[in-house]
C-alpha cells in the first residue's frame, strides 16, 4: 500500500494530527510506518456493525445526568451572568424548548471594539432602551392635560438616539402627535375629557416606549476574555445584533437554539446543541465523549427542524406503533394505529422484546443462511 492509499483510508483529522506531530525531516520510510500504524489502530478502533450506539449514548448521558446538580446558580466568576446550568439546562436543551429560561448572547466584536475601545458605549447602544431611561424629567401639566419631558442629551448621544428618532418612536407608540420645542417634548392627552388618571397613564406609557438599541436585550456586560473584549447579554436578538457593523458575525452566538435555527439554519442549530450541551457537561466537571453529544444533536436535527426528545418530538415520530406505545400515552397510539391501519414491521428493539424475539442489534443482527445439502439419490 502506498502512502496515498493509506491516507485515503484515514480520517482527515487524523492526517492533520499526524502531520502536526511528525518531526520535520522525518524520512519517508519512517513517516509511512507511522501512517501504517495509525491506520492499523484506527481500523481496530472502528465501531462494529450492529453496535447499538443510541443506547450507549443514552446511557452515557443518562448515567451522568444523575450526578448533575439541580441548583441553577452560577458561582464561577463574579462578573459572569446568571445562567441556567446543570440538569435543568440539559433538560431544556434536549426538550428542544422554544423559550428558554435564561436567553443569552456572546457578542464577539470587530476592531477597534475588539481591543476594548468604546466598548461600554457600544454595549449601551446594543442594550434595549426605553424612553424612561434617557429622560431627565417628566412634567405633568394638568391644566393642559399633557405630559412634557426633557431628554438627557448626553445619554442620548452615547446611545446614538436622535431627537427625530425619539419623536418618531413616541408618535408610533402613543399615536399622538408630539410638539417639540427645543429640548422639551410635549405630548397632549388624546380625547377631550381626559382626567388626571389618563395623564398619569400616558406618562407611564411614555416611560415604556422603546426608543433605541436592540429589542429583547435586557442586560449588557462587556468582559475581557483572553486578549479580546466581548459583550455578554441577557436576552437575545441574534438577527438584529448581527446586522451591526461592529459585530463579528462569524463568532457571535446565542444560547437559544431555536433562534440560532431560525437565523442561521439547521446545521448551525446542530452545532449550537452540541456546544450548549458541551458547556453544561463541562460546567459540571463531567466527562462525556463528543460522539455521544453529536449523536443526540444529529438525532434532534435529522429532518431539518429541531425535534425535542419528547413524546411530541422524536419519540412521537417513531415508525413503530409498539415503540411509541411503550413510551407514553399507549392507548392514544394504539387507537390511532388502528384507524390508519398501521403495520408495525417489528424492526427495532422494544417491539421484539415485547413479543420475545431476538432484537435486531448487536449479536442479534447477523443471520446465518445455510444451503440445504442436496439429497443424494
Amino acid at each position: 500500500m502506498n502512502i496515498d492509499e493509506i491516507k485515503s483510508k484515514l480520517n482527515p483529522k487524523l492526517i492533520e494530527e499526524i502531520e502536526s506531530y511528525l518531526p520535520k525531516g522525518t524520512s519517508a520510510d519512517k513517516a509511512k510506518k507511522v501512517y501504517e500504524e495509525v491506520l492499523e489502530e484506527y481500523q481496530e478502533a472502528k465501531v462494529s456493525p450492529g453496535e447499538c450506539v443510541g443506547i450507549i449514548t443514552a446511557e452515557s448521558i443518562g448515567e451522568r445526568g444523575t450526578q448533575m446538580t439541580l441548583n441553577t446558580f452560577h458561582l464561577a466568576g463574579v462578573a459572569e451572568m446568571n445562567v441556567t446550568m446543570g440538569l435543568p439546562r440539559m433538560i431544556e436543551i434536549l426538550d428542544g424548548r422554544k423559550t428558554i429560561e435564561t436567553p443569552m448572547m456572546e457578542i464577539y466584536l470587530n476592531e477597534p471594539y475588539k481591543s476594548g475601545k468604546n466598548i461600554r458605549e457600544l454595549a449601551m447602544q446594543i442594550k434595549e432602551t426605553r424612553l424612561g431611561e434617557i429622560v431627565k424629567e417628566f412634567v405633568i401639566d394638568l391644566a393642559e392635560n399633557s405630559v412634557a419631558f426633557t431628554i438627557d442629551d448626553e445619554k442620548a448621544k452615547i446611545l446614538g438616539i436622535t431627537p427625530s428618532a425619539i419623536m418618531k418612536a413616541v408618535e408610533k407608540g402613543t399615536k399622538i402627535s408630539v410638539k417639540n420645542s427645543g429640548r422639551q417634548y410635549v405630548v397632549p392627552v388624546a380625547g377631550k375629557d381626559a382626567g388626571v388618571n389618563e395623564v398619569y397613564k400616558l406618562k407611564e406609557l411614555l416611560r415604556n416606549i422603546f426608543v433605541g438599541g436592540i429589542k429583547n436585550i435586557t442586560q449588557v456586560l462587556p468582559i475581557k476574555r483572553g486578549e479580546e473584549y466581548l459583550i455578554i447579554t441577557a436576552g437575545t436578538n441574534l438577527k438584529s445584533v448581527m446586522e451591526s457593523e461592529a459585530v463579528d458575525k462569524q463568532r457571535t452566538i446565542s444560547n437559544d437554539i431555536y433562534e440560532v435555527y431560525s437565523v442561521l439554519g439547521i446545521e448551525a442549530a446542530r452545532a449550537a446543541i452540541i456546544n450548549e450541551m458541551y458547556k453544561v457537561i463541562e460546567g459540571q466537571g463531567l466527562n462525556i465523549d463528543d460522539r455521544h453529544i453529536m449523536l443526540v444533536a444529529d438525532m434532534m436535527t435529522v429532518d431539518g427542524s429541531i425535534k425535542g426528545i419528547t413524546r411530541y418530538g422524536i419519540i412521537g415520530e417513531k415508525s413503530s406503533v409498539l415503540a411509541r406505545a411503550s413510551f407514553e400515552t399507549p392507548i392514544k397510539h394504539l387507537i390511532n394505529a388502528a384507524l390508519v391501519g398501521e403495520k408495525d414491521p417489528l424492526n427495532s428493539v422494544v417491539e421484539n422484546v415485547m413479543i420475545n424475539q431476538i432484537i435486531p442489534v448487536g449479536t442479534g443482527l447477523p443471520k446465518i443462511v445455510m444451503k440445504q445439502p442436496e439429497e443424494k439419490k
Binding site: 502536526s20 518531526p23 472502528k46 466527562n287 462525556i288 465523549d289 460522539r291 419519540i315 428493539v349
Partner: protein, 874 residues
C-alpha cells in the same frame, strides 16, 4: 430445549378495527347470561366463565381447544348488544367524520377542487404531524370554507353537530342516536375516508359503533379463590356481568314493547357500562366502583402507565435462575469473580447435557442429590419431561441417566454468572463474573468493581443471574465479562481502578522506600506473585523496583502524577513518580488505558488484581490508621490560619460598612445587595482556599491522612482542612445563609447582622469543635443537599428514559452509517470518524504515542489546537 418445534418469526403486526362479522367468526361462545357458575360451582354454558373461552381451573379442559390450564391460550366470546353503543375511544373520530361529511350522501363537505388546492399543504402536514394532524386540518378547512351548511355534491342542508361529552352527539341540539350515526358513517366511501386519514379497508368507521361486543377470554380475567373458598372475580368479569345484565333487560323491554323512555334509559345505562368497560377514568363519568368503593380496573387502566401491561409485563420481563442478597467485599477475589454462598449455589443450577464422555461425571452429581453440594436438582429426559431428584427418586435417576439427558447440576466454581446492581444506569451495571463458591451468606466481589456498579457495602444488595444456554453463556463471557468492560464507552477511560487502601498502599510503596530482599519477596508473595526473577539482584530493594515487577518488560509510559510531577516508566521499570489515583484510579489518566491497549483486557484485569493486592500487602506491612494527632497543625500554621480568617472577617466588616453607606460599586446587572453578597462569598471562599493551602503546606510528611489524600485514595486536603482548621462557608442555594428569623438567621444574632459568622461561615474546624450556631448552619445545608438529591433523581431518571426511548433503535450498519429502525440515516459515519469510544483512548487514536514509538520519543510540539474540543470549532 429438546423439542424439535419449528420456530416461526413474527414478521409484522397490523392494527385495525374489529368488525362484527369477524368478531362473531372468531368467537368460541355466545354469551347470553350474567350467571357465572351453577350450583356445583361449574361454569355455566353461555355465561361469562364459559369453558369454551378457556379454562382457569385445574382439572378442567377447554371445550374449544381441549387443552388444560396454562396450555389453553383462551378464546374470545361475543355478545349481541340490544342496541348499538359508541366505543368511547373513537368519539373524536366519529365527531370529525360527522362534521366533515354530508349527512345525506356521505361525501366530504368540500368541493373536489378545493381538496386539490390543499393537497400540497396536506402532504407537508402529514409528514410532520401524522394522520391525526391531517384529519384536524381537513375539519378546519371544512369549517373555514363556510360552505358546511350545504353539501357541494348533493346540495343537502347540513346542521351543526356538537359533541356533548363524553359520548352524546347533538345535531342542532337534538340528540342523534348511535343507530343514526352508524347509518351515516356507513355512507362514507373508502376513498373519502382515505382523505380523512382513515384506512377504510381495515377500519370502517361504523365498526366504532358497537353492535357486537367481544368478550375477552377467561384466561385474561382469572378469578381468585380466597382461603374461605369463596370465589373472587376479576374486575373485568364484574364489568362484563353488568353489561350482560343491562343488555338482557334492554332486550326484554324492547320485546315487551316498553315505553320509549324506559328503553332510552336502559340504552344510556348500557352505553355507560360499555364505556367504563373500556375506560373507567373518563373525566365526565363517575367511575364504576366495587362494593367497597374502590374503582374498577378496566381495559384502559390495565394497559397504560408504569404498572400497566405494556411497561410492566411486555417491555419488562421476569426471570428464573436468579439470586439476590447483600454484598460484601473480598479483596482476594479476582476482579472478574463473584463469591456465591453455597446456599445459593444449591438452588441455582446449570443444565449440562449428558454425553457418552461425561456420563460418569454427571452421575456423580445426580448421586449427591439436591441436598449435598455439588449435586443436582433435576434431570430432563430427552422428551422434555423434567424429573425432580429427591431422596426417593435419586437411585432411579442415576440408573435412568444416559446420553441425551440433561442434568441440572448445582452452580460450581468457574461457571458463568451475570451480576447486576440497580439502578442499572449503564452497561457496566450488568457484567459477567465467574462464580467462586464461598462459605458465608453474602455475595462477594472485589472492591475495584464497586465503581462501575456504584456499590458500597452499607447494606447494598445485588442480583445474580445464571445463563442457561450455551449461546447465552458464550455471549456473556465474550461481551460482558468484567475485563471486557474496563474501558467505558462513555469517555474511553477505565471505569475500574484502584480505590482507597489499594491506592495508598501503592503510593507508599512507590515513594522513597527501601526493603530488604527478604521483605520484598514477602510482600510480593502475599500479593500472590511468585515470579521473582525480575527482582534486582541486590540486598536492598526500593519500592519502585517492587512495583516494576508487575509492569510488562516492554512497557513504556509517560504520564503525570496527581500533583503534576512526571511519571516515567521505561521498558517495564518505574523510573520516576509515585503511583496514585491519577494513574491507577478509575476514570483518570492513561496508564491503565495504555496497558489495556497494548496487552489486552485479560492482562489488564490480571495486572489490576495484582496491583490491588500489592497495595493491600504493603499496607499490611506498613500499617494504616488515622490518629487524631494527624490533624495537629504546627503552631506557626495555626497562627497564620487564624490571621487569614481574621483578615477575611475584617474584610467582610469593611464590606458591610461600604454596603450600608452605599459607596460600593455595583457589578453590572446586579443590585447593591447582590453585589455585596457575591463579594462576601468571594472573600470567604478565598480565605478558606488560603487555609487549605496552608494546611497542605504544613501537613506532616508521611502522616496517615496525608498519605490518604496525596495518593487520592480517600478525601482531599479540603476535607483535612475542614477537620483540622476551618469548615468554611455553608452555602445555601449559591449564596450565604440568609433566611430563618426576621432579618437574622438565628436568634443568637442581632437583627441585620451581616457578619461572616452570622451568615453561615464556620471559622473553626471539626477537631476543635463547632459553635452552637454552626450546628444549625450545617443542618441547613445538609438538608438542602438531601433535597437536591431527592428532587434530582426522578428528573434525571425521566430524562434518561426519554433519551433511551428515543435512541434505542439506532445502530451502526455494515456501511458504517448510523441508522434508525426505519433505515433513516442519522450519521454517515458514527461520530464523524467511525471510532468506537470504548476502543479509543479517551475518545482518540493516540497518534502521539505512535509517532513517539516510531521516531524514538521525538515529536514536533503541536501548535494547532484540538479541533473538536475548542468552543470556536463550530
Amino acid at each position: 430445549m429438546d423439542n424439535q418445534a419449528i420456530y416461526k418469526k413474527i414478521g409484522s403486526i397490523g392494527f385495525g378495527l374489529l368488525d362484527p362479522i369477524t368478531n362473531k367468526k372468531m368467537s368460541a361462545a355466545k354469551i347470553v347470561t350474567p350467571e357465572l357458575y351453577d350450583r356445583e360451582g361449574y361454569p355455566v354454558d353461555g355465561g361469562l366463565m364459559d369453558i369454551r373461552m378457556g379454562v382457569i381451573d385445574p382439572g378442567l379442559r377447554c371445550k374449544t381447544c381441549g387443552q388444560k390450564i396454562k396450555e389453553c391460550p383462551g378464546h374470545f366470546g361475543y355478545m349481541e348488544l340490544a342496541r348499538p353503543v359508541i366505543h368511547i375511544k373513537f368519539v373524536t373520530l366519529i365527531l370529525s367524520l360527522l362534521r366533515g361529511t354530508c349527512k345525506n350522501c356521505g361525501k366530504i363537505l368540500i368541493p373536489p377542487e378545493k381538496i386539490a388546492e390543499h393537497a400540497a399543504e396536506l402532504k407537508v402536514l402529514e409528514e410532520e404531524g401524522g394522520d391525526e394532524e391531517r384529519r384536524k386540518f381537513i375539519t378546519d378547512i371544512i369549517y373555514a370554507s363556510k360552505i358546511a351548511t350545504k353539501c357541494p355534491h348533493c346540495k343537502a342542508k347540513q346542521q351543526k353537530i356538537t359533541l356533548e361529552k363524553p359520548y352524546t352527539f347533538l345535531e342542532d341540539d337534538k340528540r342523534i342516536s348511535p343507530i343514526e350515526i352508524r347509518s351515516r358513517l356507513e355512507k362514507i366511501s373508502n376513498e373519502e375516508l382515505a382523505i380523512m386519514g382513515v384506512k377504510g379497508e381495515s377500519a370502517r368507521p361504523e365498526w366504532a359503533i358497537l353492535t357486537i361486543l367481544a368478550i375477552p377470554p377467561v384466561t385474561m380475567r382469572p378469578s381468585i379463590t380466597l382461603e374461605t373458598g369463596e370465589r373472587s372475580e376479576d374486575d373485568l368479569t364484574h364489568k362484563l356481568g353488568d353489561i350482560v345484565r343491562i343488555n338482557q333487560r334492554l332486550f326484554e323491554n324492547i320485546n315487551a314493547g316498553a315505553p320509549e323512555i324506559i328503553i332510552e334509559d336502559l340504552w344510556d345505562l348500557l352505553q355507560y357500562h360499555v364505556t367504563t368497560f373500556f375506560d373507567n377514568e373518563i373525566a365526565q363519568l363517575p367511575p364504576a366502583r366495587h362494593r367497597n368503593g374502590q374503582p374498577l380496573k378496566t381495559i384502559t387502566e390495565r394497559i397504560k402507565s408504569k404498572e400497566g401491561r405494556i411497561r410492566h409485563n411486555l417491555a419488562g420481563k421476569r426471570t428464573n435462575f436468579s439470586a439476590r442478597t447483600v454484598i460484601s467485599p473480598d479483596p482476594m477475589l479476582s476482579i472478574n469473580e463473584v463469591g456465591v454462598p453455597e446456599l445459593i449455589a444449591r438452588k441455582l443450577t446449570v443444565p449440562e447435557r449428558v454425553t457418552e464422555w461425561n456420563l460418569e461425571y454427571l452421575k456423580e452429581f445426580v448421586k449427591k442429590g439436591p441436598e449435598n453440594y455439588p449435586g443436582s436438582n433435576y434431570i430432563i429426559r430427552p422428551d422434555g419431561k423434567k424429573k425432580k431428584i429427591t431422596s426417593e427418586t435419586q437411585e432411579s435417576c442415576v440408573e435412568e441417566l444416559q446420553p441425551g439427558y440433561v442434568v441440572e447440576r448445582h452452580l460450581m466454581d468457574g461457571d458463568i454468572a451475570i451480576f447486576n446492581r440497580q439502578p442499572s444506569l449503564h452497561r457496566m451495571s450488568m457484567m459477567c463474573h465467574k462464580v467462586r463458591i464461598l462459605p458465608g451468606k453474602t455475595l462477594r466481589l472485589n472492591v475495584a468493581v464497586c465503581a462501575p456498579y456504584n456499590a458500597d457495602f452499607d447494606g447494598d444488595e445485588m442480583n445474580l443471574h445464571i445463563p442457561q444456554t450455551e449461546e447465552a453463556r458464550a455471549e456473556a463471557e465474550q461481551l460482558m465479562l468484567v475485563q471486557t468492560q474496563i474501558i467505558s464507552p462513555r469517555d474511553g477511560l477505565a471505569v475500574i481502578g484502584g480505590t482507597q487502601d489499594a491506592l495508598s498502599g501503592n503510593y507508599l510503596l512507590t515513594g522513597e522506600t527501601e526493603f530488604t530482599r527478604r521483605k520484598a519477596i514477602e510482600i510480593l508473595s502475599s500479593a500472590g506473585i511468585s515470579e521473582f526473577s525480575r527482582l534486582p539482584k541486590k540486598e536492598k530493594i526500593t519500592g519502585k523496583e517492587i512495583f516494576s515487577i508487575l509492569i510488562p518488560e516492554d512497557f513504556s509510559f509517560r504520564g503525570e502524577t496527581k500533583d503534576g510531577h512526571p511519571l516515567i516508566i521505561k521498558k517495564g521499570v518505574l523510573m520516576e513518580g509515585r503511583m496514585d489515583s491519577a494513574n491507577l484510579g478509575e476514570g483518570a489518566g492513561l496508564f491503565l488505558r495504555s496497558i489495556h491497549k497494548q496487552y489486552g483486557p485479560e492482562f489488564t484485569a490480571d495486572v489490576l488484581s495484582k496491583i490491588f493486592k500489592l497495595g493491600i500487602a504493603v499496607l499490611m506491612q506498613h500499617g494504616q490508621s488515622a490518629v487524631l494527632s494527624d490533624l495537629d497543625l504546627p503552631h506557626k500554621t495555626k497562627e497564620s490560619i487564624k490571621k487569614i480568617i481574621e483578615e477575611a472577617e475584617e474584610k467582610i466588616d469593611d464590606l458591610i460598612v461600604e454596603y450600608k453607606k452605599e459607596t460600593m460599586d455595583t457589578l453590572p446587572g446586579r443590585t447593591l445587595k447582590e453585589t455585596f453578597e457575591t463579594k462576601c462569598l468571594e472573600t470567604l471562599n478565598k480565605a478558606r482556599n488560603k487555609v487549605v493551602n496552608a494546611v497542605s503546606d504544613s501537613s506532616v510528611e508521611g502522616s496517615h491522612f496525608e498519605n490518604m489524600v496525596r495518593s487520592g485514595g480517600a478525601g482531599k486536603f479540603l476535607h483535612l482542612t475542614q477537620m483540622a482548621a476551618c469548615v468554611g462557608q455553608q452555602a445555601l442555594r449559591g449564596g450565604r445563609i440568609s433566611s430563618g428569623y426576621k432579618d437574622r438567621t438565628l436568634s443568637a444574632f442581632k437583627k441585620g447582622d451581616l457578619r461572616a459568622a452570622a451568615r453561615g461561615f464556620i471559622a473553626g474546624g471539626f477537631k476543635d469543635g463547632l459553635k452552637p450556631a454552626d450546628f444549625f448552619f450545617m443542618g441547613i445545608t445538609g438538608r438542602d443537599g438531601l433535597m437536591d438529591t431527592a428532587l434530582r433523581t426522578p428528573k434525571s431518571g425521566y430524562l434518561y428514559r426519554r433519551l433511551a426511548n428515543a435512541m434505542q433503535d439506532l445502530r451502526v450498519e455494515y456501511d458504517e452509517t448510523v441508522r434508525d429502525s426505519g433505515g433513516k440515516i442519522i450519521q454517515f459515519q458514527y461520530g464523524e470518524d467511525g471510532v468506537d469510544v470504548s476502543k479509543s483512548e479517551k475518545g482518540k487514536i493516540n497518534v502521539k504515542r505512535i509517532v513517539e514509538n516510531a521516531t524514538g520519543g521525538k515529536t514536533q510540539s503541536r501548535q494547532s489546537r484540538d479541533v473538536r474540543n475548542s468552543p470556536e470549532a463550530n
